[in-house]
């Protein structure tokens, strides 16, 4: 990674490889880009790039290399044995299913909140709008202890459900509640700007042509929100899969039942099983990235269909 000029020189040399000199066509030489000049005008390219690369290498890349290399201590077998252990499988399954359902709930609730915040005028709207970001700002441990005490059998909300025989805290439902809390702003903040920019004329056209407001909302506005909704969903989902602080207090942390994958990493570390901890982490990352790739793919398909 250097300035443009050595790169274009390198390109030119590559073009020469395997060709005799007379075959080199003039178009083989790319003219320098317009931005090329900027580099020489503004100072600090090498210094700022140097700081950026050094910092990212030390803080992000080196640790990730350590993470990726660690699980193979006992060979591929060791890794497979760890991630197919029933307790690990249950934890992964729990983390991913509760994260999924929480993201689904946030998809609908977030859409309604974003709709209300962009479409209607009501007293206190600006405060409500600001408070949607609270789950971003509130430390997860604070959310964790508070949700745990609210949904415990003797808490404000838990005591309403306890007589019906429904336990929320210290069960997977409690985990789901915590993930709904931390995921809400992701959907609202993804959808809100798109909804605020929606072309009113398209909507008016639908209404003039005889569509009911409900039909307009579902068949005209909603499809154009789909990419933003998917973005919000995948952000909320990705955050929920790895969430720790707000979950462990309310989860109950029973092995095989309410033990989330990040907690399993903590437990393996406490047993000095570094390779096991890294294996669970790698499994979580691999699953998350696969799911994000799939949602990205769906998003591309949807936006293509929208254009056709």
């Amino acid at each position: 990674m250097t300035t443009d000029s050595p790169i274009s020189a390198g390109d030119a040399r590559l073009e020469t490889n395997g060709r005799s000199a007379h075959q080199i066509k003039p178009e083989g030489f790319k003219p320098p880009k317009a931005t090329h000049r900027t580099q020489h005008v503004l100072p600090g390219f090498h210094a700022s790039l140097g700081i950026t690369l050094t910092y990212l290498s030390l803080i992000v890349l080196l640790p990730l290399v350590a993470l990726v290399l660690r699980p193979w201590e006992a060979g591929l077998d060791g890794f497979i044995r760890t991630v197919t252990d029933e307790r690990v499988l249950k934890a992964l399954q729990l983390s991913f299913t509760t994260a999924f359902w929480a993201a689904v709930v946030n998809l609908f609730a977030g859409l309604i909140v974003a709709w209300v915040l962009t479409r209607y005028e009501f007293p206190g709207k600006k405060i409500i709008d600001a408070i949607v970001d609270l789950p971003f700002a509130l430390p997860t441990a604070v959310a964790g202890v508070s949700l745990s005490s609210l949904y415990a059998p003797n808490g404000w909300v838990g005591s309403l459900f306890d007589p019906m025989g429904i336990k929320i805290a210290y069960t997977p439902i409690g985990i789901f509640i915590a993930l709904v809390f931390i995921g809400l702003p992701f959907v609202v903040r993804s959808v809100q700007p798109v909804l605020a920019e929606f072309d009113a004329e398209v909507e008016e056209a639908a209404l003039t042509l005889g569509a009911t407001p409900m039909q307009t909302a579902i068949r005209v506005i909603l499809p154009s929100l789909a990419p933003a909704l998917i973005t919000g969903f995948s952000l909320a989902f990705a955050r929920a899969v790895g969430e720790y602080g707000s979950v462990i207090f309310i989860a109950g942390n029973m092995p095989y039942i309410s033990e989330i994958s990040p907690l399993l990493i903590v437990i393996k570390l406490e047993e000095f099983d570094y390779a096991g901890a890294a294996s669970v982490a790698i499994a979580m990352l691999a699953l998350s990235f696969t799911i994000l790739l799939v949602t990205n793919f769906v998003q591309v398909l949807l936006s293509r269909r929208g254009r056709a």
């Binding site: 790169i7 604070v142 809400l184």
Partner: protein
Amino acid sequence: MKVKAPEAPKSPAAIALLAFALFWIALVIVLPLVNVLFEAFRTGVAPYLAAILEPDAISAIKLTLLVAAIAVPLNAVFGIAAAWCITRFEFRGKGLLLSVLDLPFTLSPVISGLVWILLFGAHGWFGAWLDAHNIRIVFALPGLVIATVLVTLPFVARELIPLMLDQGTDEEIAAVTLGARGWDVFFRITLPNIKWALTYGVLLCTARAMGEFGAVSIVSGHIRGLTNTLPLHIEVLYNEYNTVAAFATASILAGLAIVTLILKTLLEWRFADELAAHRRH
């Protein structure tokens, strides 16, 4: 293109949607916040004050401030450097650089802590060497700082990059053409242009740095009075069934979150044009 202006809800459907949204925000967001204060003051003001003035709480507050005071400036300087090279120059691999920059946001906090144990823990890559030279990183201040740095790394850069792309380089190039030197360009042109976005990024970075739990919990070792930050102190108290003290400590962080939200909202209203495009309301 015209945009629909918000209006008072009139139809029954609109009123139902508004009612649901308000109910949902009250239940999901406001109730947990109110509950923190309620539990903290449940037994009155005296136990509350006793809990937050206790020596372990005071040392947790000091440690939290210290960690943030080291981690945030590091990430601010990095954020400015990264935004400068990404928005002011063309080079190969920029897309890859941006993806690496975003990685910390996609990592579980627990993984952001785990990686440091793998490097510097007793059985980590450098564990034996550090031990031989009597250097402590994990279960000590340096570990808390690097874990916090990793978790909060993208905040400042992510605020500055869209804004600086938006602003372009015209003013800076003009200054250089007229003979301004490197740091003059930065301090007289760039910094005044980005100061509110920088403030915004630093604010979010600080809030996260002080509230981080997962990553810090792994590298801390939970040594009371020594390596417990405020969020970890809450955990210790809560697990000891010392609910009032746990919520008293939690209320400090909840207060911090509210102050953060207020400052953030004020910045969004007052300096909308000087924040990144996606922050404008």
